[in-house]
Symmetry: C2
Subunit: 376 residues, 2 copies
Amino acid sequence: MLSSRIGILGGGQLGLMLLQAAIDWNLDIHILDPDAHAPCKSIAPHFQQGSLQDFETVYEFGKNLDIITIEIEKVNVEALEKLEKEGKKIYPQPAVIRKIQDKRIQKQFYADHNLPTADFILTEDRNDAAKHADFLPAFHKLGKDGYDGRGVQRIQTEEDFAKAFDQPGLLEKSVDFDKELAVIVARNAQGDVNCFPSVEMVFHPEHNLVEYLFAPAEIGADVAQKAKDIAIATAEALGIVGILAVELFLTKDGNILINEVAPRPHNSGHQTIRANATSQYEQHWRAILGLPLGDTLALAPSAMVNLLGEDGYEGPAVYEGMEVLLATKQVYPFLYWKAITKPFRKMGHVTILDQDIPSLKKKVAFVKNHIKVKSK
Amino acid sequence: MLSSRIGILGGGQLGLMLLQAAIDWNLDIHILDPDAHAPCKSIAPHFQQGSLQDFETVYEFGKNLDIITIEIEKVNVEALEKLEKEGKKIYPQPAVIRKIQDKRIQKQFYADHNLPTADFILTEDRNDAAKHADFLPAFHKLGKDGYDGRGVQRIQTEEDFAKAFDQPGLLEKSVDFDKELAVIVARNAQGDVNCFPSVEMVFHPEHNLVEYLFAPAEIGADVAQKAKDIAIATAEALGIVGILAVELFLTKDGNILINEVAPRPHNSGHQTIRANATSQYEQHWRAILGLPLGDTLALAPSAMVNLLGEDGYEGPAVYEGMEVLLATKQVYPFLYWKAITKPFRKMGHVTILDQDIPSLKKKVAFVKNHIKVKSK
């Protein structure tokens, strides 16, 4: 399996970190991305510019490969289905991607499999959504193509329905939560599963992007076990082969609800590169190559800070403050090979190790104060 | 400094691991190597095929870059000197490379700087060497171009002088040593220095290649301190900017002698990628980019097993036993992107972490028994 020709749909930062892990095993990686300057461009052994959503492009890309995976869900599933029928290994499987691509199908899947999630109503358009004032406060979520904080609107009052999407979506009841957690679970073709330790995510107050996270989450052992059980149950219900990132709400009354899942390495697992015996990227390769899953042991408590493009700056990126970061012990910046910064664009992240969560949080504050992504 | 155009002379496995580390910081790396299929070829953002020993090739390669480093000592130093005069940053400095390239100059340098090393006599040719029967047992070492066990002959009896090199070299008195150690020291342009923990090397009985090593070495704190002091004194005497790997003998009477040094990341530091807070590769970038040196703390005891091409096999490489290795916790194979295996060629290595040295040694035996590099 290690000599397979492997394709990745998408050449962004997740692809880049998959590539970096693939170097260890001399994996033959082929990348498809619509952007000629995608992060993977300079590093990938084989890079092809092309649409991820065009049937012919995806099919032709996959035709000469043995295994195809993704680093983004928004891909042409029909082409993957055809490739799968022709005997290619497509992991995660097209049927899994199809379920997750559309948040409506995803939510219904949880309901059908008794997987805990916030109450919801499927809606066809804005007018349809607006019929459910009794369901507020809620979030209106676009069925397809939401990404990185886009595709979600908070609906607190009837007036807010003006902001609802005029396309198929769902209205999800606001959850009174205490924390947001994530558990990354891996499942290989043999059906083995294991989880990374739970992480606790802290969101940017305005931009609906993870500002930083830390692991292990500050939760009791019982809650951690429940989160892990739900993540594993979800992976098994989907039958996924690969990494599944499961984002969860811990409600104020101690329940755990699934927020959403991603069938690929995830922002909430970057820190595993430095902090865990196996990284989520290596784990993804293990899962899809049919290898034994790696040890997810945390060697140290860790935090991860997203480096977002500073508001008000757009253009060639400059990372201010790198020297200060690099002078701090066990602080690891990772830059994403994106030439152009834009406000709130994910431009990199910083992994931080330390002996305990309070020390980690101090370093998080330090890192956030000292590094800025601006433009020339 | 992070936006500099950086060149590496040599695109072998050390270059590959330098590249892999450089991905974290989005470094713009250009590689020169004579082999069109060098390990770095598929991964390097920029790869140029060309001789490392040809003045024009090296000079033209370096002319459009800001910083040039090496992953092999056998390079055209005159070209690097010219580039240095023209204002390029060449780290390690050409003057350092020149001293280390020739083992005669290297040994004389230790003697001149009161750095402890085995007694030696410089010899011009075979006949000259054969005049020193009273100096036996000894090793005859070629002045220039020795590499990976080549360029060294054991001379125990007068008859053995027939194997002495008929070129300038040196006769080094055999050292009655207890262990072979290595200390990797880094020095940046500001003059900051720090060391990785001492490693203990175990050599293949016949092939004069490291079979495996482990860290920390099984030596007392006083010996460890002495080894570290000698490594730092050597780096400072050379004034090197970059990584210096210092190979040492621990004699049976408790003395430490310098065997030889390498002015670049080294085989004896591969395990730092997985085991230490900073890898030797990241440390090299820090040193030559004028950044603060990273924390060398070992997160766990570690071992490293070289994967050598199995005797009797030459051709397209096949790594037998990878699955067994990958099913073992905290065992990390790293393959070198070399298409062709040859007997005893360095084809990869395996890093092993465990809680103590006895457990590590058991895993070393397991790894050695289960992975073989053969040909198709």
